[in-house]
């Protein structure tokens, strides 16, 4: 029974980070209708920025989150205006391949800058934990979950309350109508893409503390981002958060009770079933 609750805790904590991984991915997919295969690589860039700041300036990784966010935000903005903007309305295939090409390119750049070494950020307090009735709660991951939820909440508030946020939501519903009411769609898209990259950067910061990474680690996170997005439904902040938590729990329990080797296969099977029977995700929000 203790193991059961430990798994539940593990699943929720893992899910928190996956929610943040998926959040930016989901925004671009839901609002711009683009599957950004470079999202995983953006996350890795965030992790490397954090690692570099930690090594060079002994900056606490949690303090690096805003910096990683800003760096990736800028990169995202430039990428959108210089490249992605030219294919925003193109068919799925075009954007899929374009972003795949980008991810290859960026991964190679990461390899050239930071070499293929496996990295991880370990601080003085890493591994600190609470003990609640025999169940261990790692504090760093708990903090990660709290930060992920906070970032999700802030994003949601921003989308709902600010003028730009409302313009973004209007654009996601009807590009033509938004244009007619004076929304500068190119600018809105650039902001969405930049925000998504920024969120990837923040996720990267958090990943650098809890996990190990190398230039080729982007793919597993990208795939999990996919699954979480579809689970929760596209383009919604709540969807990404709920999807992330559900995925984290499913994966952890599958690993424990079906067999660790099958963890990914089970998660993918769940994804397929949801796609076929409830393609709008478990949250049920329909998107275009």
């Amino acid at each position: 029974m203790q193991l059961f609750f430990q798994d539940l805790v593990n699943g929720i904590l893992t899910g928190g980070i996956l929610a943040l991984v998926a959040l930016g991915f989901s925004l671009v997919w839901g609002i711009m209708n683009i599957i950004n295969l470079a999202h995983g690589t953006f996350i890795m860039l965030g992790a490397y920025v954090t690692y570099q700041l930690f090594v060079s300036f002994h900056l606490d990784p949690f303090l690096c989150i805003p910096i990683a966010f800003v760096v990736l935000f800028a990169l995202g903005y430039v990428t959108q205006l210089s490249i992605i903007n030219y294919v925003v309305r193109a068919p799925v295939l075009t954007t899929f391949l374009l972003t795949f090409g980008l991810s290859l390119l960026l991964e190679n750049v990461i390899l050239l800058i930071w070499t293929g070494d496996t990295r991880s950020v370990t601080t003085g307090y890493s591994g600190a934990h609470l003990d609640v009735g025999g169940i261990t709660i790692p504090l760093v991951k708990l903090l990660t979950l709290v930060i992920a939820l906070a970032i999700g909440g802030l994003t949601q508030l921003w989308l709902a309350r600010t003028k730009l946020g409302r313009a973004i939501r209007a654009t996601s519903m009807d590009v033509g109508a938004a244009q007619l009411t004076g929304v500068r769609v190119a600018h809105v898209y650039a902001i969405v893409f930049a925000l998504s990259a920024g969120l990837a950067g923040a996720a990267g910061s958090l990943i650098s503390v809890s996990y190990a990474f190398s230039p080729s680690s982007a793919t597993p996170f990208l795939i999990k981002g996919f699954i979480v997005c579809v689970l929760g439904g596209l383009g919604s902040v709540q969807g990404a958060l709920v999807g992330g938590l559900v995925y984290g729990i499913v994966e952890t329990f599958a690993s424990q009770y079906i067999g660790a080797g099958y963890a990914d296969a089970v998660a993918l099977a769940v994804l397929l079933v949801i796609l076929v029977f409830r393609p709008t995700g478990i949250m049920g929000r329909a998107t275009a």
Binding site: L111, T118, R119, S120, A212, G259
Partner: protein, 409 residues
């Protein structure tokens, strides 16, 4: 019109690619012997591929700086032609084919990793070109009846045996063992090997698990290990796995007598990434600079000297991936110099008969082409330094025992 000109341009471009830069020295053209190697410069094995290349390059420059290699009265320089296999077995096979057919390389140095080595070995066999490899430890490669592939390293099954032996010599004696493994060719063999070995030596195996290769989260595995209360916690995987598991063990406050990893502790990455948490960790290694084997004249004299020269050249201490790669080159050197010929068939026969001691240890192959004669060593990280602690005869320091609680490492 346009179609035709385009077709023509394409045909020309393609002919140029195919006929391409096959100018590089033909096997033993004049005075240079060219070896070929497909190593991982990009992809998931980029790190280890880089170490492999350093090991090969060390030997190349060492030989050339020492006046070259003397075969049948003639002195040759050596050179190595590299391609990037992208950490993919399919690509490795293609590139080995390219090295042999297009670059006319007569001798192949292996890639990094069991999967890539396996597919490269199939090509070497078909082309009847000898390949010596120091980085593919899965025994399955050597159970195919291949005649042209020689592995100079101890097989995967034996990787973690040394840690079990070392543990049994301590008091209090560990009684139970848990091992998790990344689900890949190499790691699964490592796991199977140590499970069999532990059972045969009276240690109770309380938990085994295989998790998917390139996993990002293994917290469920860690919880299960914790619930099993093992004395020895082992992991079969690569550096990424070692970091992930070790961080997870600390997070969930899992206490044991031994934390041992098949790959990881030997690389500086591991110590850099974990800081103090890396202390007391055991890692098995094919080699360390503490080994006392003496090489013959002209074949790199000793491990300390290798380490010193390597450090000077590359700016870091050699780890066992470097050393085993260099040793693979030495096997060729012996076979060529002792066999007195550069004929691929004669070099192969000389390799099969090889029985020498180098700075790396014994180089000798069983009938399958695998070096089952060389023991492994066990290293431990003590105060941030990697020291050899087992076998006792080679120990640079005593085993730090027992492992204290996490906060006191």
């Amino acid at each position: 019109m346009k179609t035709r000109s385009l077709a023509l341009a394409l045909a020309l471009a393609f002919a140029a690619v195919v006929a391409g830069p096959s100018v590089s020295a033909v096997r033993a053209a004049d005075d240079t012997i060219v070896f070929g190697a497909a190593v991982s410069l990009t992809g998931s094995l980029a790190k280890e591929g880089h170490l492999t290349q350093e090991g090969y390059d060390f030997w190349k420059d060492w030989i050339n700086a020492h006046g070259g290699m003397k075969v049948a009265g003639k002195t040759y320089k050596v050179d190595i032609k590299y391609y990037d296999d992208e950490s993919s077995p399919q690509t490795a096979a293609r590139l080995v084919e390219k090295l042999i057919d297009q670059d006319h390389v007569g001798f192949i140095l292996g890639p990094y990793g069991s999967g890539t080595t396996f597919s490269a070995a199939a090509v070497a066999e078909r082309k009847k070109v000898p390949m010596v490899e120091g980085n593919g430890a899965a025994e399955r490669i050597f159970n195919q009846g291949y005649r042209y592939t020689f592995g100079i390293l101890s097989p995967a099954r034996r990787y973690l045996e040394g840690i079990v032996d070392m543990g049994k010599a301590q008091t209090p004696k560990p009684k139970t063992l848990a091992i998790s493994a990344s689900n890949d060719l190499f790691s699964v063999e490592v796991q199977q090997g140590v499970v069999d070995y532990a059972k045969a030596h009276g240690i109770d195996v309380v938990y085994t698990a295989k998790y998917p290769e390139n996993s990002t989260d293994v917290s469920a595995v860690i919880s299960a290990i914790k619930a099993a209360h093992p004395d020895i916690i082992l992991n079969a995987g690569h550096t990424n796995d070692a970091l992930l598991v070790h961080k997870g063990l600390k997070e969930q406050n899992v206490q044991a007598m031994i934390y041992g990893y098949s790959v990881g502790p030997d690389t500086p990455d591991f110590r850099n990434a974990l800081g103090r948490d890396a202390n007391y960790v055991f890692g098995s290694a094919q080699w360390s600079d503490a080994v006392k084997y003496k090489g013959e004249k002209g074949f790199i004299p000793s491990a300390p000297q290798y380490a010193a020269e390597f450090q000077k050249k590359f700016g870091h201490k050699p780890d066992y991936h470097n050393a085993e790669s260099t040793a693979a080159c030495l096997a060729f050197q012996y076979a060529m110099q002792r066999g007195g010929s550069l004929d691929t068939e004669k070099v192969r026969d000389a390799l099969a008969k090889l029985d020498v001691t180098t700075f790396f240890g014994i180089l000798k192959f069983d009938s399958r082409g695998l070096n089952v004669f060389k023991p492994m060593v066990v290293n431990q990280i003590q105060n941030g330094e990697l020291v050899t602690v087992w076998p006792a005869g080679l120990a640079q320091a005593k085993v730090a025992w027992p492992t204290p609680v996490w906060a006191k490492r």
